[in-house]
Amino acid sequence: MFARLRGDFPILDERVGESPLSYLDSGATSQKPQCVIDTFTEYYAQRNAAVHRGAHTLAVRATDAFEGGRAAVAGLVGGAPEQVCWTKNATEALNIVALGIDRASHGFGGEAAKRFAIGEGDSIVVTEMEHHANLVPWQQLAASTGASLRWLPVTEAGELDLSELDSIVDETTKVLAFTHVSNVLGTVNPVDTLVARARAVGSAVVLDACQSVPHMPVDFVDLDVDFAAFSAHKALGPTGLGVLWGKPELLDALPPVLTGGSMITTVTMENTEFMPAPQRFEAGTQPVAEVAAFATAVGYLVEVGLENVYAHERELAEVLLDGIAEIPGIRVLGSAEQRIGTVAFDVEGVHAHDVGQYLDSQGVAVRVGHHCAQPLHRRFGVTASTRASTYLYNNVEDCQRFLAALAEVRPFFGVGEQAS
């Protein structure tokens, strides 16, 4: 199956200079199958209109596409369609929660929002492996409310260090925000343990599902999280679209951050009443074509089967890890058992930028830098790393081309045994 579906992704036929392309940067953004691309053409040529507004026929077609996307996503991650709020990306979704709590803490949202209010003496807990998108908004919330920010450290193996869990997440904790899967290490975190502790102390749970939803079966209802966020573009979908998922009673109580058209019931010059979720978080014209395209992507993923995607990527991860182990002077960051097909590493004596440049000259696309996780890199004593990340369209040949190129990096830069 996986050999066949590679043909659905036109960009994989591109050439980089003289080399074919091996795209190992899906952790940053995924490529799109032809059917997703075609949805844009179909949408703009046949159904484009403002949704939820016009009585006219195009508006009805557009609204169907838009609401159909909600149902598709709910089918993928659990819950009802109304639990799916559209955002521009996962970052906005996480900010909507953090800033909504900020506004609740400053008296917005009335009686219903009081459950979210935090202040001095309260704590917010994150982890040391968070993407900046799930760290900076919480820092800002702490600064704005006087709550303290705490974090769970990361072990040398690249797993969460839970030895102090009970003292870090304690009775003062009002929000526990963590990533399901590390975008650098590929580690899958133990959601159950963390949710159980949060429930024990009455804390809300916010899950960053950016790197899990595209790569493995995920059900937010089963996981019993309160809010979750992910991006369409990492899951075969388009840029410009993210998802905020939440428990219904929490979504309806959280004060909106962005306000304007299509999210109100009554507006006078002095005062405004907001709609319930999902509309209350969807101010202004929404990314409708993007929703239509993402619905196609979700259909594609469901047809392939997320458990198959996960198994496929695990195989590729083994090829990568075994191959890297045989190349001298490479240190892989983390060694967690529970992982997806994402591998970050440091090349002794060669900066990640130079590693990436060399790999690119061989047609191998990887990501270099801090991957929006500076604290995690600091934890491992580096400022930058090189990351290879796989997806359902990658094959063993991609991994082998990557490994062959990687073996040449230190010799090219005159570092290590071969050069001495």
Binding site: H52, R53, G54, A55, A59, V60, T63, D64, S262, I264, T265, T266, M275, Q279
Partner: protein, 159 residues
């Protein structure tokens, strides 16, 4: 003229939208029996309805409403009031259930005229997704107001 338009704007609907049954001053706290009140807004167009239910001695319900909206929403409120005049609470809940289902059927359901009476004329509306909210506006208000009236009666009994 397309037949879809004729299905949507049945003569019954146009008639009800002009001579509106139940469209009368609300009594509020002056209502004699246990009563409830609901205010519903259609956020797309700003259409609104205020609707009041009062539980009468004989197990029936009086409905009074006032509102501003399109022919579908006004006719729907009028038909609702007419039906309430002739029904028990149980009867109205049955009608409400069937009407709700009919509206979400996208034209695939056959209306049961025995149960729905004039409300069966709204069958065509279900093919116009943008108008379903119009047809349901008064029914949502009715269900809400009825609930409150029933709660009020319970409270009175236990007081």
């Amino acid at each position: 003229m397309s037949t879809q338009m004729q299905q949507l704007y049945q003569q019954v609907i146009l008639d009800h939208s002009r001579s509106r049954i139940g469209n009368s001053a609300l009594l509020g706290e002056n209502a004699a029996g246990p009563h409830g009140y609901s205010h519903q807004v259609n956020p797309t167009c700003g259409d609104e309805i205020e609707l009041e239910t009062e539980l009468l001695e004989d197990g029936r319900i009086a409905v009074r409403w006032s509102g501003d909206g399109c022919s579908i929403s006004m006719a729907s409120a009028s038909v609702l009031s007419e039906l309430a005049d002739d029904s028990t609470i149980e009867g109205m809940l049955k009608i409400e259930g069937q009407f709700h289902e009919l509206m979400h059927s996208r034209g695939t359901m056959e209306a049961d005229e025995e149960v729905l009476g004039d409300a069966a004329a709204f069958t065509g509306v279900s093919k116009f997704p943008a108008r379903i909210k119009c047809a349901l506006l008064s029914w949502v208000a009715f269900k809400d107001a009825l609930n409150q009236a029933q709660t009020a009666r319970e409270e009175k009994r236990h007081a």
